[in-house]
């Protein structure tokens, strides 16, 4: 339980710190300027450093994940996606892995029934939840370019049109949660995160393997989503002031006079924490998936020699030594010899 609750308390504390720090202590410069700068710089430098640290280790052997028929005899159909024979197959496989999590699609669940006997059923829930979460995250991030970029890029209105396609608005007497209309991704990411969290807690196997650091980013991202949604739908803030602040940051003359609502600083502090935490954590799987030798190599080891830069020189037991030891016995059964 400790590993489930502690990070939750931690994230709540972080939120309170940002709220109190701005609304109570007026530390707008700290939460609006210093921490975001620091976090973004840490993210860029840390991410680059981590990728380079992987790149500094060579790939001694060509050991791709082999999950289908390799290219062999001409009349046997090779499976270029599961066992690529060259660059096109590798790229296609990589694309489908990165954008559609293809390997998770074959996930199954095993259970033991009376007999004993094992049965397997297809289980695509992790695939679906993972896909929905990551795509929603990406779309939400891209939508934020209306804040990040002074001239709003073409894709933002496009994404908004699709994401807000159903124009779901509703009205209630107490609190008119009506405008702007609901973004599908805002709802989907909440559902997906909730599923991923419940899965971690309720599936005994996954709970067993989960560490404190598996819950922390879940809570943190949930915090980001909740504060972001609150800001959009309920606890409204002045969007123009927020964009002015961000623009002052990206143009490198931070405007310390700007004060947006505290919920904005909680949101920003969560995001800063995530950016800061990212390069030091499992979240680096985002870069790692591209660097994974099992993913980015072709299964063509017998057709094309792979070079190991540190291939050691090993003293082998030569045939000559072998014959030396067994010459008489070999001679007795008529085996040909190098030296009589």
């Amino acid at each position: 339980m400790k590993k489930i609750i502690t990070p939750f308390v931690l994230v709540v504390l972080l939120g309170l710190i940002a709220w109190f720090g701005t609304a109570g202590l007026g530390l707008y410069t700290l939460f609006g300027v210093v921490l975001p700068y620091g976090a973004f710089a840490t993210f860029i430098v840390g991410f680059t450093f981590k990728i380079l640290s992987w790149a500094k280790s060579p790939v001694p052997f060509r050991i791709p994940t082999t999950a289908g028929q390799a290219k062999s005899l001409t009349w046997i159909k090779p499976n270029e996606l599961e066992s690529p024979s060259g660059a096109p197959g590798v790229l296609a496989r990589m694309f489908l892995e990165v954008f559609f999590f293809r390997s998770l699609l074959r996930n199954s669940r095993a259970s033991m029934v009376k007999g004993p006997r094992l049965v397997y059923v297809s289980d695509k829930s992790l695939w679906l939840a993972g896909l929905v979460f990551h795509w929603s995250f990406l779309i939400i991030f891209l939508r934020h370019y209306r804040i990040f970029a002074e001239q709003v890029p073409f894709f933002v209105p496009l994404l908004e049109a699709v994401d807000g396609f159903f124009e779901i608005v509703w009205y209630n007497e107490i609190h008119a949660v009506t405008l702007p209309g609901l973004y599908l991704t805002d709802a989907l990411i909440l559902v997906a995160l909730t599923f991923l969290f419940l899965r971690r807690v309720l599936d005994t196997k996954v709970r067993f393997i989960s560490l404190l650091q598996d819950y922390f980013p879940l809570y943190l991202i949930l915090g980001i989503v909740i504060t972001g949604s609150l800001m959009r739908y309920n606890l409204k803030v002045d969007v123009i002031a927020a964009k002015n602040l961000v623009q002052s940051l990206v143009h490198f003359h931070p405007d310390t006079s700007i004060q947006v609502g505290s919920i904005f600083y909680v949101h920003l502090f969560f995001v800063s924490t995530l950016a800061f935490y990212f390069p030091f954590s499992k979240l680096m799987h985002a870069g790692g998936v591209f660097m994974s030798p099992t993913r980015n190599l072709a299964n063509n080891s017998r057709a094309k020699r792979h070079i190991n830069p540190w291939n050691p020189t090993i003293k082998i037991r030569t045939y000559a030594e072998y014959e030396e030891d067994y010459r008489d016995k070999m001679k007795a059964v008529g085996l040909p010899l190098e030296k009589e």
Binding site: Y145, V152, A241
Partner: protein
């Protein structure tokens, strides 16, 4: 030594360049300056509140007028206004030099005029 540098480095650089786009996008950091109306010194509610909440106020007005026939709005300061985009809001503000300024800056779709006629439009 960086192995596979020919593949790793270009992709890494591309990633960093794309991610830092807001920092090198250029631009003059032009902030929107909606025109202050001459007619009145005070909006229906406090200006700061209006900046964050006007869309919800307008939508509430819409519901109350269309569904309940409630046409008058008493502000927190006790002033009474007609719940009307055209007669109240646009009496002081103009779409082109007020609404559009911020809406363009933050790329937020302005939906009021999907139904309402913009009085600035000159009929041919």
């Amino acid at each position: 030594m960086i192995y596979n540098a020919k593949v790793v480095l270009p992709i890494l650089i591309l990633f960093v360049v794309v991610l830092t786009y807001p920092f090198w996008q250029g631009g003059t950091e032009q902030r929107p300056e909606p025109q202050k109306p001459a007619k009145a010194a005070q909006c229906v509610e406090d200006a700061a509140w209006m900046r964050a909440n006007h869309m919800q106020l307008l939508d509430r007005w819409r519901h109350e007028v269309v569904r309940k026939q409630e046409r008058s709005y008493t502000s927190t300061r006790g002033q009474v206004f007609e719940k009307s985009l055209v007669n109240t809001c646009l009496d002081c503000h103009q779409k082109s030099d007020f609404c559009d300024k911020c809406h363009a800056y933050a790329s937020v779709k302005l939906v009021c005029f999907n139904c309402h006629l913009n009085p600035e439009l000159v009929e041919p």
